[in-house]
């Protein structure tokens, strides 16, 4: 057997992130202030976000942005993550395809989310901010921010989507281990939460409701508290490009180049992170790689949504964003892939999708878990329900290769492990998951 896993030396860990906004021929439509309908500025963004992130958000000229040394030092705790040749999965599928995955589940918090949490927490620290707040769905982003905040001595307040808070109580424990204050959303602690509960006292929560509450907390204490976001925005995608930049070097070590890059899709952070560095070669016309964003069938904003201006949150606190959306009042089904339960797609990815630079696919929950179990047996890693979607799409593509007798190179992102999601697997094993 040839090599199984590829690592980089610590001095090969990227020292810059890749900013695809500089390379896009059609830039994403500007975010608009809902009251004035004017494009938002760095100044207005930075009333909520850190100034550095606000600048990155609207940076359409710099292709490469330096990773602060302090962030890169913390990246060394878990990066490079391994690029893995999935020999076990290939064998199980009896496919001529070469399947690789980037294993972001080895991060301290068990997912890729830490890549951006470290950056956002560091910028807050540097700007003298003492408190950070955010929302979390599955709990992966909340855990990442809690850990990053504790590393840099910040306090973290996390609004967790109520259904995830109940389905995944141990995520809350992890955030608490790292010292964060965790509140199930919608809650009575904010105006937004109260309004939502007034209309629907049994609201299970969604990323939309939790964003409203966290943004409100940041807004009502603007000097002392900044909001951070785990997905959808350009600066988050930017930070996540460390994944794809590493993968590019590691694929080169493996002597291959991906024909297809596949990632699950909630708001777009892991998809962007893996895909954008490879996509730049497509933009430059040097490659013809396919990029596939994989959604849950029950939350199909790309495959079934509309490309229009919409709010990023339930209450309508965020700027208006031109994106593929199911509507900011859309209530996603209570699937276990909590990180994919979001109504919108992020402005950059939406534009790229609209312009035909990438594709989308949606997968039923049961198919995603079938693929997850197959992968667990073959590769020994129990994947997060979100990652199961990428695996299921990869399985589909690998089986097409088998039919066609093609040995394509498939690369997918294993965003996280499923060790906090065993109740979902339990349900699956008992035949109670649909």
């Amino acid at each position: 057997m040839s090599q199984k896993r590829y690592f980089l030396q610590e001095d090969q860990i990227p020292s810059q992130w890749y900013n695809i906004q500089a390379d896009m021929k059609t830039k994403p439509a500007p975010m608009l202030d809902p009251s004035t309908k004017e494009p938002v500025s760095v100044e207005s963004l930075s009333t909520i976000f850190s100034e550095a992130c606000s600048r990155q958000e609207l940076d359409f000229s710099n292709r490469w942005i330096d990773i602060p040394d302090e962030v890169r030092e913390k990246y060394k705790y878990y990066r490079s993550t391994p690029l893995v040749r999935a020999y076990g999965l290939e064998k199980a599928l009896d496919t001529p395809a070469h399947i690789y995955f980037k294993n972001e589940s080895v991060s301290p918090v068990g997912s890729h989310k830490l890549n951006s949490a470290l950056a956002q927490a560091w910028y807050c620290k540097q700007e003298g901010v003492a408190n950070v707040t955010t929302e979390t769905g599955a709990g992966q982003w909340g855990t990442a921010l809690s850990y990053a905040a504790s590393l840099f001595g910040l306090n973290a307040a996390v609004y967790q989507v109520k259904i995830s808070y109940e389905q995944k109580p141990y995520r809350r424990s992890m955030m608490q281990i790292f010292g964060a204050q965790v509140t199930p959303s919608p809650s009575m602690s904010t105006r937004a939460g109260k309004d939502i509960l007034t209309v629907d006292p049994n609201h299970q929560g969604s990323l939309g409701t939790a964003i409203s509450e966290a943004v409100e907390l940041a807004r009502t204490t603007p000097e002392k508290c900044k909001y951070t976001l785990g997905s959808t925005m350009s600066h988050v995608s930017l930070h996540q490009t460390v994944i794809g930049l590493e993968a590019e070097m590691q694929m080169e070590m493996a002597g291959e180049y991906p024909d297809e890059v596949i990632a699950c899709f909630g708001g777009g952070s892991n998809f962007s992170g893996l895909a954008f560095p490879f996509m730049r070669h497509n933009i430059e016309g040097r490659t013809n790689t396919r990029f596939i964003a994989v959604e849950p069938e029950s939350c199909p904003k790309m495959t079934k949504g509309k490309f229009e201006y919409d709010f990023g949150d339930e209450a309508g606190y965020t700027p208006l964003i031109k994106m593929y959306t199911l509507g900011h009042k859309f209530k996603p089904a209570n699937i276990h892939a909590g990180g994919l339960r979001y109504h919108g797609a992020g402005a950059v990815v939406s534009q790229l999708y609209h312009d035909g630079l990438m594709e989308a696919m949606d997968i039923p929950q049961l198919e995603s878990f079938d693929a997850g179990i197959l992968f667990a047996k073959a590769e020994g890693i129990v994947p997060a329900p979100e990652s199961c979607h990428a695996i299921a799409a990869t399985v589909r593509e690998a089986l097409k290769c088998k039919e066609a007798g093609e040995s394509k190179v498939l690369l997918f992102n294993l965003t996280g492990h499923g060790l906090m999601d065993m109740s979902a697997y339990d349900q699956y094993l008992r035949g109670n998951l649909y």
Copy 2:
């Protein structure tokens, strides 16, 4: 900052295990057949264990034993595991000590146990055995065997200590994901289980009871089913030496050599695995490293037990083993470190301890979790309750270094992550853990 993590290339993964039995000046006392009081032979051992493991168990002459290619190929799925410089922990303790840990938690099943499970399952496969059985405490060994069995196409039946089965239900789910049949022990499915439950219907189980049941299953179906063991025996320690052999090369990459090697201690598998390769240099008189086995205060067979012949299991099915023991009827307290709830210490480690080649230390449960939380915040990895004991001992030693102003090099084994043990952390966070 200097380098954080050290990896080996795949071709540097050891191709042989180290057999300390060949180097011991005083060999361990022979295991005795309880009826005849005669030393057990390879033949009698192999009625229960695979023949290869039985031979390894009684091999006192070969220092180096080849790792089968098939096992080494599976090692590549997760090995080398990283050697990590714990800069975060050093800073948190403000100690001049250099702290390193070998991170075995990155294995597919989350602990070092897979190192031996792969070997034992492979030997069974090679010998034409279709079924394997075992016991598991915390669930780490059971998960490892379940996965290894599924990789090599064997059926696995696991007896899980009842208290762990209840405290850690998701470990059962993981074993089931890998296709194993899991039974809480003591159960009514074996004679041994029935006898135990007759005396004490509320028996919470222990490794001793579960071993009795698994051994009975193997004994009553000898041709079709072999028993496998996750700790205490020499062949298990042998397989685990891959940890220390890697660590030795990785410490060399770091330009250091450990003054102290620290590992938690249940039956001895992770301790032996990390320590023995370094200990061979002490035996040869070239180094003077300290080796510290860390027990829970509530199960202190080394620090408080007797060095005498005893059974390895509750029912008295195993051979008699000369070891440090609290008595095979000892019922350990229901601490969360299920993997350390075992009454005996393994013949080789017991002899080494008796001969002064190593030390032992016992740690109260609360101190172990204090250390675990400190480590989680500093290094981002939530450790298994078992590993917390090694961390607590390392903290003690590092604080001694601080007092003395000594920059000793400390190396401990992070045997596994605690993501399946969040209920224990939950209890700790609520102040309900003692």
